[in-house]
């Protein structure tokens, strides 16, 4: 019972601290940019058209899912443990009678709802503002956006426990691996989470008019879903193992 109380205290404490952190301000910038874009394009036609759906899908897949979602996951995912590490307050958690892997799970449990709330909340808002095409897009792309968010949050927790300056390394990863490698032709793009997410998104929206770029060879919906689930679960388990075993010599 004591452990449950300690764990839930840590999770809620972490949630509050993350919410009121600079990460929240940081993610507001791309989210506001997307909002301005949606407002300016006036998608809000009362009737569904394939052309408009294609354009809105492009925005969602290329800008929102491929850039904004990883940035949101990165900002909070690396800050959950990395923030305590950089502020040198992690030592106050490590000397408490909570197993280290549970400390990480508490941090993850605080981060995931926050990132999902921000990502899915803003996604809902953009779709709402986009009128008829937005309503169709919301239902179609919701599972893919959710899986991508989950995979990114887990992956960036692994970064946070593994690297001293996790935010910088995660940024380099997001820009280089996700944006550059993820858009290369051939098999090399499979190292990017983005590729599996886009496979899901295109598979979901193709029938209604979403057009995938030339040369993009998507995986099937089932394979891409399993790949994202594997990245999420594998990343989280690996992060727990690393955090449980690792010495953090820079804490005091």
């Amino acid at each position: 019972m004591k452990l449950v109380r300690a764990w839930s205290t840590l999770a809620s404490l972490s949630f509050v601290r993350l919410f009121w952190s600079t990460s929240t301000l940081m993610v507001m910038l791309p989210l506001a940019g997307c909002l301005l874009f949606v407002l300016r394009r006036h998608y809000n036609h009362p009737e569904f058209t394939q052309r408009e759906f294609r354009e809105f899908s492009e925005f969602l897949i290329v800008v929102f899912a491929s850039f904004v979602v990883p940035v949101c996951a990165l900002a909070f995912g690396t800050a959950s443990i990395g923030g305590d590490r950089e502020d040198r307050t992690l030592v106050f958690l490590l000397v408490r009678p909570i197993p280290r892997w549970l400390i990480l799970l508490a941090k993850f449990s605080a981060t995931l709802p926050l990132v999902l709330g921000i990502v899915l909340g803003s996604y809902w808002l953009y779709c709402r503002l986009a009128g008829a095409v937005g309503q169709v897009a919301f239902d179609l792309y919701l599972p893919a956006i959710t899986y991508m968010t989950l995979a990114y949050v887990c992956l960036f927790h692994l970064f946070a426990v593994s690297f001293r300056h996790a935010t910088i390394i995660a940024l380099v990863y997001a820009l280089f691996m996700e944006t550059l490698i993820g858009n290369l032709p051939g098999i090399v793009k499979r190292v990017a989470v983005n590729y599996y997410g886009r496979s899901l998104l295109y598979a979901a929206g193709e029938a209604d008019g979403a057009r995938m770029p030339e040369g993009f060879q998507p995986l099937s919906f089932v394979v891409a879903t399993w790949a994202l689930a594997g990245i999420a679960i594998g990343g989280l388990i690996l992060a727990c193992v690393v955090f449980s075993r690792r010495e953090y010599r820079d804490l005091t």
Binding site: R5, A6, D87, L94, V95, P99, T252
Partner: protein, 324 residues
Amino acid sequence: MQRAPHAHFSDETHHVAERPLLLEFEHVTKFYGAVIGINNVTCHVGPGITGLLGANGAGKSTLIKLASGQLRPTQGRVTIGGHDAWSTAAKHHLGYSPDINSFYEEMTGREFVYAMARLHGFSRTEARERTEHVLDEVGMADRAQRRLAGCSHGMRQRIKLAQALVHDPWLLLLDEPLTGIDPGGRREINELLFRLSGQGKTILVSSHILVEIEQLCSSIVMMSRGRLIAAGTLAEVRQMMQHRPQVIQIVAEPSRRVAALLAEHQDVLAVEMRDPGLVIKTRNPLDFFARVGELVCEQGIEVRQIQILDAGADAVFDYLQQGK
């Protein structure tokens, strides 16, 4: 606790206090890559206040980090009440006040200590009661409503101490706990530590201010270059050094005659006239004191005062460090 000078202590076992043993280092070696932080340290720290002394780079911080389960030994074992210091079970018994000056700055002192109590699994009511009690103990009850970002260094030290005490641990590891605290505050904290020590708690205090350690601690652990060079009570450590040359001030009448008589003694290395009395350097203090006794009885010399000038922890530490 006796040993020949310059012997390697790290291969021996030092009982700083008798059982029940709480914090144990057994042949502990810690490497940082190719650099050795701690070299084959074996010692037991039991109830009472033990001072951890050493110069920068001596291995104090590594020892504290190993004891608080932040690091794992490369070789050997560190246990708290029989539990591996790295384990969660050991953390129930451990209260740790680090030497860093970082907190959840947005919180008040009271909120921070309460949060730490909650992280030990206490209910809201119990955590609140413990927080108030411990804030009162460290003298912060009336000032804990201030945000930590705006607290002075001394106040932050007290809050650090409070969070270490809030779950009433058996073992307290305090890294430089008195730094930044004013003399009055030091007295209060010392009194608190004496009280806790009286309750049977094991307290390991790391400090570079040797006078503090002398006033506070019943036992000391001395580190130098990653090795344990001495452990025991201050008296025991002094006893180790009975062959160390010592400087003794003696005020006796007639001083010139006393100087002449003492200078004849084979173990007296130097005699210097000072006001008041004489300053004598001897290679064998025990024989020297015996000789002074003889002079009092045989020559009718009146001795008003005898004082060892270099018996403090500073001198003890310097001597042992040079020996190593």
